[in-house]
Amino acid sequence: MSEAKASIDKETVEQVAQFGGEHYKYGFTTEIDMDRVENGLSEDIIRFISAKKDEPQWLLDWRLDAYERWLTMDEPEWAHVDYPKIDYQDLCYYAAPKSMEDGPKSLDEVDPELLKTYEKLGIPLIEQEMLAGVRKVAVDAVFDSVSVGTTFRDELAKEGVIFCSFSEAVKEHPDLVQKYLGSVVPKSDNYFTALNSAVFSDGSFVYIPPGVRCPMELSTYFRINEANTGQFERTLVIADKGSYVSYLEGCTAPMRDENQLHAAVVELVALEDAEIKYSTVQNWYPGDVDGKGGIYNFVTKRGDCREDRARISWTQVETGSAVTWKYPSCILRGDGSSGEFYSIAISNNLQQVDSGTKMIHLGKNTSSKIISKGISAGRSSNCYRGQVSVHPKATNARNFTQCDSLLIGDKCAAHTVPYIEAKNLSAVLEHEATTSKISEDQLFFCQQRGLDAEEAVALIVNGFCRDVLQNLPMEFAVEAQKLVGISLEGSVG
């Protein structure tokens, strides 16, 4: 047994070395004239960003306040991740294509180089190019620090749906922005939210009016292109009473030897009887086989079921990034509200993932469900960290948690850190957890049926993730399945 296994491990290491990050197909760089500020963080830089966007005084004050608080805070160290200290003075906080100088333009005027970039990423920004018969998906494309275009805005506007870049929302819908910005994730919630609140440059804004079922999927596609820049975007989604929206975000970045920081904040607000379904396919550059390069993905995502019977569901497929630190959470404030978290987190080579969710039960008859699938390969570390908290007034709260880990090879690690607290005796909380390995016998069985080792792993892992993949919008489920296979390439001999 041991010798057979040793030979598998040896081959694994060789295969991994051979593939490395080369299979990351989004690793190209776009050559385009950029407008970027000098590296470094100061009040002046914040004033510069705010002025660049022609922001109202209240927003500048808000940023400066966040900055002041950030200066007094320490970078969190409790997560199960290990990376060299980030020099925040050696980062660029604003970089935008020169052609975007005068603010967002209509799609016809967007630099063809940018359109080509998104085309290469498989994201058509030309509405006419969307295939007939395929369900429409509206896209907001964020390139480094700015939004370069948003599709189907007019069609959405007919239903009263607002879907635009954050910068435009500040100008055109200041009341909504001022009312909801920071209302779910306070600016000083943690170190990275304070940083983001001070320097965020763009992002997406969504408002669905009462009773409207958003007629198409909305999505934001984040692309980091410039070297040495951080991307700090904010997403704010508001679903008014009785409305429904399904939203998806995707992320990629070029292959670079340096690490880059992505510190985003996402806030969701669901009012009475509203439903928000938020899906993420995170495929930031993960670094190479030796852990060189890759994105630090330090993200705060939180949804507030602010009124009765509101529903928020997070689905995430996390395959990229060198280090991931994110916990999409739900505050179940309204009576009868519900929160769901479906997650697939894959780590290969030297990737580190510390991810999970928080379900905070405040209202009566609130329910939550957590399905987490962690897959570790190579020499990676994958940690599920979750909290289910039932407050004293949350009578009849209900939670079901299922937390499964799958290990490939014997040099990777999986950890599960669930915090469960019930301060109301009527709470019913269930937690199930499993850890398994792909067995040599399973692999052999698949190979005897004609699959090569990588196809076999992709098939077995997709089976393992099935409960979560089923929750993705149909348009993205197939892509996500392929991504699961690609990100594990080189993980077996």
Binding site: E3, A4, E440, G450, L451, L459, I460, N462, C465
Partner: protein, 262 residues
């Protein structure tokens, strides 16, 4: 006529433990061979060595399948070449439906042969036709691969995979173990349906019972890693009466050679 499988003086086993000791065997297209033998004679090891399971090594001799030496081929290359192993203990793959597995398998093999993949609609027709012929409910195709299947269902499912892949040579490793008489008949019918002048089969079994339903052309007795006697179907009946004692040669007991049990 050239043989489908030609094994000459094969020596094989797991590291530091020889299990197959100079085995020779030749199967022609259209023939069904049965290998019988006591526990530990190396029957299952032979099936693993032929199909290329990790952890088994070939130390000498040759095994030529359809003109190709198998030893250097990956397990999937052997499958693509048309060699099929019906597992004694079929594996479970949670979350993957039987249908998805069958389709992935068939298309991997077709791709490997440079053929076009089969489209979803044609595959669905094929899978339904074959599973109904085996008396299987359509529901079995939608269930997760072998998860929660009874022993009989798992074995029947192996035969379904064989029916869809139509291998040149099928090795059935104790497919009869754990089956009641009705399940045994269905499985045997499935196997018989695949008999043709082009296909060959190697049926590994402890008991004569299976051979009442799958009539072999040749019966071999295997002991201590060798074929010690070969004959017609009547040899199986003889064994049923007299047992293996004369072949085992006294008190020596070898253990079945799987690395998992080593």
């Amino acid at each position: 006529m050239s043989s489908l499988l030609d094994i000459k003086d094969l020596h094989a086993g797991i590291p530091d433990k020889p299990i197959i000791n100079g085995l020779s065997l030749s199967i022609n297209p259209g023939e069904v061979h049965a290998i019988m033998g006591p526990n530990g004679s190396g029957k299952s090891t032979l099936s693993y060595v032929l199909s290329g399971k990790e952890g088994y090594e070939v130390n000498g001799g040759e095994m030529v399948f359809d003109g190709q030496e198998l030893a250097q081929m990956s397990p999937e290359a052997r499958a693509i070449a048309g060699l099929f192993l019906a597992f004694q203990y079929p594996l479970e793959i949670p979350g993957v439906t039987n249908m998805t597995f069958l389709k992935t398998s068939l298309n991997a093999i077709r791709r490997g042969r440079g053929e076009d993949e089969m489209d979803a609609a044609s595959f669905l027709r094929l899978a339904r036709e074959k599973s109904r012929a085996l008396g299987m409910d359509d529901d079995m195709l939608r269930r997760q691969l072998n998860v929660g299947f009874s022993g009989g269902e798992k074995k029947r499912n192996e035969i379904l995979q064989m029916a869809i892949l139509e291998p040149k040579l099928a090795i059935l490793d104790e497919t009869d173990s754990g089956l009641d008489i009705d399940a045994l008949k269905t499985v045997a019918e499935g196997v018989n349906a695949l008999r043709s002048p082009e296909h060959g089969m190697l049926v590994i079994t402890h008991y004569q019972r299976l051979l009442d339903f799958i009539k072999p052309d040749v019966v071999h007795v295997m002991a201590k890693g060798q074929i010690v006697k070969s004959g017609g179907p009547e040899l199986a009946l003889e064994l049923e009466k007299s047992g293996y004692a004369e072949y085992v040669g006294g008190a020596e007991t070898a253990s079945e050679g799987s690395p998992a049990h080593a």
